[in-house]
Every structure is written in structure tokens, then in C-alpha cells.
């Protein structure tokens, strides 16, 4: 039974079938990988580009970046404080979820885009204090609509920058490449 199946696979038709199965598996895997690299759906199609163009600083909405581990996402009260005063946005259909959330006292569930796994302890403050600008990791927000992750944030990417930043300073290199600096 099994032997006749393998014999059938050796025929031209069988080889084509093997090829189709292989291609199907490969494309499924490639699609799976592709979906992990896509920006997630957000409750509101928030255009970063527009807000940056108005001259709003990153730290106005993400003040935690200079103070602590998490940069933070602004509360809807902060959004509404401005948008409430602009006639065009107050009644906009695009901002209806924001208006509903404010009036009903609910939270908008933004989906984090630049994330690290649970076993990585990342601190924004240290990176901002070391002179890193937001766009070095998060991309050029003057050109982005809905937030996207500009690069794969893996350990090699972190370490490259750490090693580069340490330069010739051995003590700094030891500290910045120590497992316990990020993993605990």
C-alpha cells in the first residue's frame, strides 16, 4: 500500500503533486511570517503624519518615554481636549469612536505596535537619556499614517546598537552586553 503510493509519487504526475504540496506549505509559511510583520488594526486610523505636521512633539502624547520604562499612549481625554475644540474633528465620522469613548467613559483599546516579548525588560528613559531620538527606532513619523514598525526588533538589532554605543569603553560594553541588563 505505502510502497505503491511512493511508486505513484515517482511518476511525472506524482512529482507535480509533490511540487504543489511543497509550494502550498511554503507559501502558507511565508504568509504566516508576513502577517506577523504587519501593523495591527487600530480602533481609529490615527495619522501620525498629520499630528507631527502640526508641530506636536512626541513627548506631548508619549510623556513616559523620558521618565520611565513605558512611553505610554495618551488617554482619550487628552485627544478630546484638542479635538473637541476643532469643529471639523468634533463631528467627524472618523473620530466617532473617540467621541463615543469619551461620552461613555470607556477606553479606546489601542494596539501596541513596537513591542518586545515579556522576557525583555526595556526602559525608554535610559535610551532617551543616552541621546537616542525616537525616530532611530520607531521610524520617521512625519511620513507615517497608521503606526507601523519600521524594523524587526530582535536581540541582534538591540545588541548592534549597544555595542556601537559602548565604543571603546570596556565598562560600558560589559554593562550593555550583560544578559541581566535586559533579561530578568
Amino acid at each position: 500500500m505505502i510502497k505503491s503510493f511512493f511508486n505513484w509519487l515517482k511518476q511525472p504526475l506524482g512529482l507535480i503533486a509533490v511540487g504543489i504540496v511543497f509550494l502550498a506549505l511554503f507559501s502558507a509559511a511565508a504568509y504566516g511570517l508576513y502577517t506577523t510583520q504587519q501593523a495591527p488594526d487600530q480602533p481609529i486610523q490615527f495619522p501620525h503624519k498629520t499630528h507631527v505636521a502640526f508641530g506636536i512633539q512626541c513627548l506631548y502624547c508619549h510623556p513616559g518615554a523620558s521618565k520611565g520604562p513605558a512611553a505610554g499612549i495618551p488617554s482619550q481625554a487628552k485627544c478630546w481636549a484638542c479635538h473637541n475644540q476643532i469643529v471639523k474633528t468634533r463631528d467627524s465620522a472618523l473620530l466617532a469612536p473617540l467621541k463615543d469613548a469619551v461620552l461613555n467613559g470607556e477606553s479606546l483599546e489601542w494596539v501596541p505596535v513596537a513591542i518586545v516579548p515579556d522576557f525583555v525588560q526595556f526602559n525608554h528613559r535610559a535610551h532617551v537619556a543616552a541621546g537616542k531620538n525616537c525616530e532611530e527606532c520607531h521610524g520617521d513619523m512625519t511620513q507615517q499614517l497608521v503606526a507601523q514598525n519600521p524594523q524587526v526588533m530582535n536581540m541582534g538589532w538591540c545588541l548592534n546598537c549597544h555595542i556601537e554605543n559602548a565604543g571603546e569603553d570596556q565598562a560600558k560594553l560589559i554593562k550593555l552586553t550583560d544578559c541581566g541588563t535586559c533579561h530578568y
Binding site: 522576557f119 535610559a126 544578559c179 541581566g180 541588563t181 530578568y184
Partner: protein
């Protein structure tokens, strides 16, 4: 305040962070055990797994029996935690380099995402202070709300142990750095030392002779457990003083 010129001995000789535990004033109240579990997201394994000896603690209170049955004498309470050995037996046996020595902090690290769960380190630890996640233990609501966000929640198949509350070390260092100073002695402490109502546990820099912990450690009658194995432990015990 730790100034570099005060640090006479190098970190390789003495370690960096250390602890002094006074067994004479320890009442065995288990406050440190509870505080450690809260701080470090140590799970509760339940009755059945505990019966298999799979209970998970990063610190435990040990007592031993002395003498034969009718005349049994109890030894003083002995809080036992990872001794953060300078030459740790757990480290060279790990095939995945998941337990490594931190050069920056002179601590033994457990890198959870590298750990493949061979449990060799726990078998080679003379202090028996490592615990293994035999399952993904259930944490019913609302228990997940009390997770410490600064500490990884470990999953099944991963070894874990006391870290000397490295998240607090980093937090204190980060705060000190943002204020442009060094970490002061006694500015922060580990969860077990903070919870101890008798102040039997003192934590600090052992490479700074001015710190409280190194002054206590050099009093003379301190004991480092199983020091004869050459593990260079960083926890000093006092008993019968």
C-alpha cells in the same frame, strides 16, 4: 554614598551585591517567603505538585533536627536563598548557557528565554535553591492583576531562582543615574529584606567597606555556607552571636 575610591577590593574578589542574614533574630515568620513570591511572580504549585517536591520558592526557611528522637533540638531558622556564588556550580553545567555570570553586577543570572529545562543546574546546586516550572500553573482571576510588571512571568519548562531582586537594582541604578549620582547604601533593598519585621536580612554592596552589609559581614563570626566547596557565596549567616 559609594565613591569609587572607597572600593578597595575588586568585584571579582568579593562580588558586588551581598547579603547578611542574622539567624538569631529570625523568627521564621515566612514574611520574606511571601514577599519574594509577590515581588518575583513566583507561582503557587498547589498541594499535589508540592507533594512531589515541586514547590517553588526563591527563599525558604530551613530548620534541621539535632540529636536523637526524644532529645531533639531544633536549630535556628535558616533562610536559604541563592547565594549568588562567585564561582557558581550551576553555571558550567548548563548546556544552553542559560545560567551565566553577570560581569556587570556579579550576580548569577537565569536567562529564561535561553533555558531549555535540562534541570542540570538545580541538580548541581549545593544549596538546592533553584526551582523548576513543571507546569504552567493556573493563576485564577484576579491573581494575574498582582503580577510585578518588572519581572518576567516564567512558563513551563524553565528553571528559576533568586535574582537578588535585580529589577530593584536596575530601578535604583536608573533613578540614581537620572539624578546624576551613585546608588546610596540602603537606598533600596530586596523584597525579603524589606519585608523582614526583625531586620534579620540586610542587603547591600559588599565591595564597599562603608556599607552596612559589609560592616556586618566583617564582624568576624559570620559563616558562609558550604564555603569549603569553593563556591564563593555572597550571603553571610550569623548564628549564636
Amino acid at each position: 554614598m559609594i565613591r569609587p575610591e572607597e572600593i578597595k577590593m575588586s568585584a571579582e574578589e568579593t562580588g558586588k551585591w551581598g547579603m547578611v542574614i542574622n539567624q538569631d533574630i529570625c523568627t521564621g515568620c515566612q514574611a520574606c517567603v511571601a514577599a519574594c513570591a509577590m515581588e518575583n511572580n513566583v507561582t503557587f504549585v498547589g498541594e499535589e505538585d508540592s507533594g512531589y517536591g515541586r514547590s517553588m520558592h526563591w527563599i525558604r526557611i530551613e530548620r534541621f533536627w539535632e540529636g536523637e528522637y526524644p532529645e531533639v533540638k531544633m536549630t535556628p531558622n535558616q533562610p536559604m536563598l541563592c547565594q549568588q556564588c562567585g564561582s557558581a556550580p550551576c553555571e558550567p553545567v548548563c548546556p544552553a548557557f542559560a545560567t551565566v555570570h553577570s560581569t556587570a553586577e556579579s550576580l548569577n543570572l537565569q536567562v529564561y528565554n535561553r533555558c531549555v529545562g535540562t534541570r542540570y543546574c538545580a541538580n548541581n546546586c549545593p544549596y538546592q535553591v533553584r526551582s523548576f516550572n513543571w507546569r504552567d500553573y493556573e493563576r485564577p482571576e484576579p491573581l494575574p492583576n498582582q503580577f510585578n510588571p518588572d519581572v518576567t512571568v516564567r512558563r513551563r519548562g524553565v528553571m528559576e531562582k533568586c535574582t537578588f531582586c535585580i529589577q530593584r537594582i536596575h530601578k535604583a541604578q536608573d533613578k540614581a543615574k537620572s539624578e546624576g549620582r551613585e546608588v546610596a547604601d540602603g537606598e533600596f533593598t530586596t523584597a525579603c529584606a524589606q519585608a523582614c519585621p526583625a531586620n534579620a536580612i540586610v542587603f547591600g554592596r559588599v565591595d564597599n567597606p562603608q556599607s552596612l552589609v559589609s560592616q556586618l559581614a566583617h564582624k568576624g563570626h559570620g559563616v558562609k555556607h558550604l564555603e569549603e566547596l569553593g563556591t564563593l557565596p555572597n550571603v553571610t549567616y550569623f548564628k549564636g552571636g
